[in-house]
């Protein structure tokens, strides 16, 4: 049948054309072609690299991690001595980067929230001040700001003898910022235990009050009892235990300060520049989030007799947060990535201490680059995992 039909109507299409026009076959062909090109390209680069490395006597292994690094690091969060291994250097850099990111995120959030609310103010002067603060700072490069803070502010400060002093506890000079360091005394562990217990209790009370409200509609006061538990109980415990925390104050001895905590100028400059720069973006996110909740929501809540404070807490904020949180998290990620600019002012973060100093010292380009990029990839994948979970949770439940 088929052969009769095809011969009578028109000549059968050439066999090659018919299977080439099949979408599935073509998809497979394209993919094979792509794989061949990509694998070929990578193989070309790898073979070049292997030849080049063997010519220069370089090695791609990780065995150098156990070798002593033999250079000093100006600022370390975790203990490090000159002569520790490269692995330790990597850990030091990692810890410093995470420290900068954590503190920067804290400050950036506070400043961003503040500026975002100022941007929404009814007051014309405040609104415009906030606007120009944001416009000027986010339209200039971050690296320029970091360098300006470091070379234009912190290294131009007076020497330790002429320090700027605040109530004999805090000193600011060209060696950095000095503040009293806490010294735990016997009994401090017990105090921490009490603190943890009160915080856990407060959280439990909050959850219980919320469940009660959802089940019975009875509204218990939450804010003041929680604050009371968290503040009063630890303070009492602290006093009862005989104030088990001493302060190690910075004291000027000769040309420099002894004691206390010294925050180096590079760290100060980096934190200030990063948090100020990121706060501009956070401010815009906060503003957009709050503006995204339509005014009808407020009006409806008021019409139902909901108090203004509860309207903000239970109606506006939950809806605004849905818009705010995803871009906010990606700003946090940006801040973490931007902390790598520390290298410009010599602060020993991961990139500076690992991808620059260690790489130049050991010459192990490939493992070092892979480890650095691996760290940032892991952080970013982890954050996007968390964000996907969050987005799934807050997704509008539509019919």
């Amino acid at each position: 049948m088929a052969s009769v039909e095809s011969s009578s109507l028109r000549p059968a299409p050439a066999q090659a054309g018919s299977w080439l026009n099949n979408a599935k076959v073509r998809a497979v062909l394209y993919q094979i072609l792509t794989v061949v090109i990509v694998v070929g390209g990578i193989w070309y680069l790898v073979s070049n690299t292997i030849t080049n490395m063997s010519q220069r006597g370089m090695s791609a292994g990780f065995e150098f991690l156990g070798v002593s690094a033999g250079f000093n690091i100006s600022f370390t969060l975790i203990p490090y001595r000159e002569g520790d291994s490269y692995l330790r250097v990597f850990q030091v850099g990692l810890a410093n980067t995470l420290l900068v990111a954590a503190i920067g995120i804290l400050f950036a959030t506070i400043m961003g929230l503040f500026m975002g609310l100022a941007r929404l103010s009814n007051n014309w002067v405040i609104r415009n001040l906030a606007r120009w603060y944001i416009e000027i700072l986010r339209n200039t490069p971050l690296l320029l700001q970091i360098i300006a803070w470091y070379f234009g502010v912190f290294t131009l400060l007076p020497n330790p003898r002429m320090s700027l002093v605040w109530s004999d506890l805090f000193y600011l000079n060209n060696r950095g910022f000095y503040l009293p360091g806490p010294v735990p005394e016997p009994g401090f562990g017990l105090f921490l235990l009490v603190l943890a217990a009160t915080v856990a209790g407060a959280v439990a009370y909050g959850i219980w009050a919320r469940r009660l409200r959802e089940q019975t509609g009875r509204i218990l006061p939450v804010l003041w009892p929680v604050l009371g538990i968290v503040i009063v109980a630890p303070v009492l415990a602290f006093l009862l235990l005989g104030s088990p925390l001493g302060w190690n104050k910075p004291v000027l001895q000769g040309f420099n300060f002894r004691g206390g905590i010294n925050v180096p100028p590079a760290f100060c400059a980096l934190i200030i520049a990063l948090s100020v720069y990121t706060s501009c973006f956070i401010a815009e996110i906060v503003r957009a989030g709050i503006e995204s909740v339509s005014h009808g929501q407020t009006e409806a809540a008021r019409a139902l007799g909901v108090k203004p404070s509860r309207t903000m807490a239970s109606i506006i904020l939950p809806q605004a947060l849905r818009v705010i949180i995803p871009p906010l998290i990606s700003q946090y990620l940006n801040l973490t990535k931007n902390s790598s600019l520390a290298i410009a002012i010599g602060f020993p973060d991961l990139v500076s201490v690992w991808m620059n100093t260690s790489l130049n010292q050991s010459g192990r380009a490939i493992p070092i680059v892979a480890m650095t990029m691996g760290f940032y990839c892991v952080v970013s994948l982890f954050v996007s995992l968390v964000m996907n979970q969050y987005n799934r949770r807050v997704l509008l439940k539509e019919r």
Binding site: N123, I136, L144
Partner: protein
């Protein structure tokens, strides 16, 4: 009206004088407290006690900042001096020392580019502006083609103008392609303004083409002729080679961000289409590339290319540092651009794809003719935003030793005559960065507003 009887008509007009008719009293003027500048000030600055306090605080901040700034930058500033020592002798640290910046302005803009050859940079940017003008002419219809030709072809021509030196056969052809794009843009802008027809079609009609097919065939011949003219011009050009090591300042910043945007736009489109592709291998490869480059900081990519590109390439192939930086920036920008394009593609409703399929358009046809034109329109503000980010990020190349605007500003303080001069040149380049970025962001916001009209109620 005619059948209205006289008594009835009379009745209507016959109202006795004693009946009171309601006449509304004239409206009173609005209270003076709600009118004029005082009312506005009261409402926006002093509506409550906290608000009034905030206003006073704000005004105090503005006054302090402006007062200090004007005192430093204008009142106490030194405008004529031969060295930083002079400035310090005159005003100390109380005023700015502008002569150092003024002397360095050529270097801040062109880096160490030879003074005799600077005209080439100026000419190239003048050509760029000429290329841009048609985008604002109301009668020009081929704006998309002109814009694309500018982004994609201008770098070809400009890189020769900047670099000069020997040009082989392929290089010559590429430069000529760039020049052809320029000639076509100018001619099209002229013919569309005067006769409303793009130049190729106009010439084709002059030669007697009646059908669209004939028009496009003759158009191609005309384009080829234009290419011939361009080739002839390029053969005649003979520029002295200027090594990229001396490129610097604002010029270098523009070159790097320009290359970044020119490469990242097409690369981003390809990557985004690949990521959305139904073919698993292609989608996986594109997703890996995009996520890898988006998750690491630009500085690590710059370092990687700076140290590892010589390892990747066969022995003996030298890649100069500028090219390494440009490759790194392009890869980084492409990954970001891909996500922007993907966002734009996701905003196009499914119905558009289905309608295009129903009309019998294949994947490439529906993408090029139906989806991309709509998606690109939505993406423009984000693309501009990406470009602003790229422009700011080019400062990072100073870390790997290129002489961009930031490096040149720091170099001022290392000049023996202006030793230690830091704040003034930094202030100057901050203004440059701010003006560029702010202008672009305002432009993109305006564009967003204009493009949004169709969807906003």
């Amino acid at each position: 009206m005619n059948n209205l009887s006289p008594p009835q008509a009379a009745h209507l007009t016959d109202i006795p004088d004693t009946v009171k008719v309601f006449v509304p009293a004239a409206a009173r003027a609005a209270p003076s407290s709600t009118l004029g500048a005082t009312a506005w000030i009261r409402k926006n600055m002093f509506s409550s006690v906290p608000s009034a306090l905030l206003t006073i605080l704000g005004i105090w901040i503005v006054y302090t900042v402006l007062n200090g700034f004007i005192g430093w930058a204008w009142t106490n500033a030194v405008w004529e001096a031969s060295s930083r020592r002079d400035c310090l002798d005159k005003v100390g640290n109380a005023g700015a020392c502008w002569p150092g910046v003024v002397v360095w302005i050529p270097n801040l803009i062109y880096g160490l580019y030879p003074k005799d050859e600077v005209w080439r940079i100026n000419l190239a940017f003048a050509l760029l502006i000429v290329w841009l003008i048609p985008l604002w002419l109301p009668k020009v219809n081929s704006k998309v083609a002109i814009g694309l030709s500018m982004v994609l072809l201008f770098p070809l021509f400009a890189s020769y103008m900047f670099m000069g030196g020997e040009k082989g056969a392929i290089w010559t052809a590429l430069i000529a392609v760039g020049l052809t794009g320029f000639l076509w843009t100018v001619l099209t802008a002229v013919t569309e303004t005067l006769w409303g027809v793009p130049v190729l079609r106009l010439v084709a009609r002059k030669f007697g083409a009646t059908t669209a097919e004939a028009e496009s065939r003759i158009g191609q011949v005309v384009l080829l002729a234009l290419f011939g003219v361009a080739l002839f011009i390029v053969f005649e050009l003979d520029f002295v080679e200027v090594r990229t090591r001396v490129w610097g300042g604002l010029f270098l910043t523009m070159v790097i961000s320009g290359f970044g945007i020119a490469v990242s736009l097409p690369a981003g489109i390809v990557l985004a289409l690949g990521r959305r592709s139904k073919m698993p291998v292609i989608s996986l490869l594109c997703t890996t590339f995009i996520e890898l480059f988006r998750s690491v900081p630009l500085i690590t990519i710059l370092f990687m290319f700076n140290t590892m590109l010589p390892l990747f390439l066969p022995a003996g192939v030298e890649v100069n540092q500028l090219l390494r930086a440009i490759v790194a920036v392009c890869l980084f920008a492409s990954a970001y651009m891909a996500e922007i394009v993907r966002g734009g593609l996701q905003a196009i409703p499914r119905g558009q794809y289905e309608a295009a399929s129903a009309m019998g358009l294949g994947f490439w046809q529906s993408t090029a003719l139906i989806i991309m034109p709509q998606a690109l329109k939505i993406m423009i503000p984000n693309i501009v935003g990406n470009f602003i980010g790229l422009f700011k990020d080019t400062t990072l190349v100073s870390i790997i030793g290129l002489l961009d605007l930031l490096s040149m500003a720091r170099a001022v303080g290392q000049d023996t005559r202006w030793i230690g001069l830091f704040i003034e040149p930094f202030f100057f380049i901050t203004v440059i960065y701010f003006v560029f970025c702010f202008a672009m962001s305002q432009y993109s916001m305006n564009l967003e507003k204009r493009l949004n009209t169709g969807h906003k109620r």
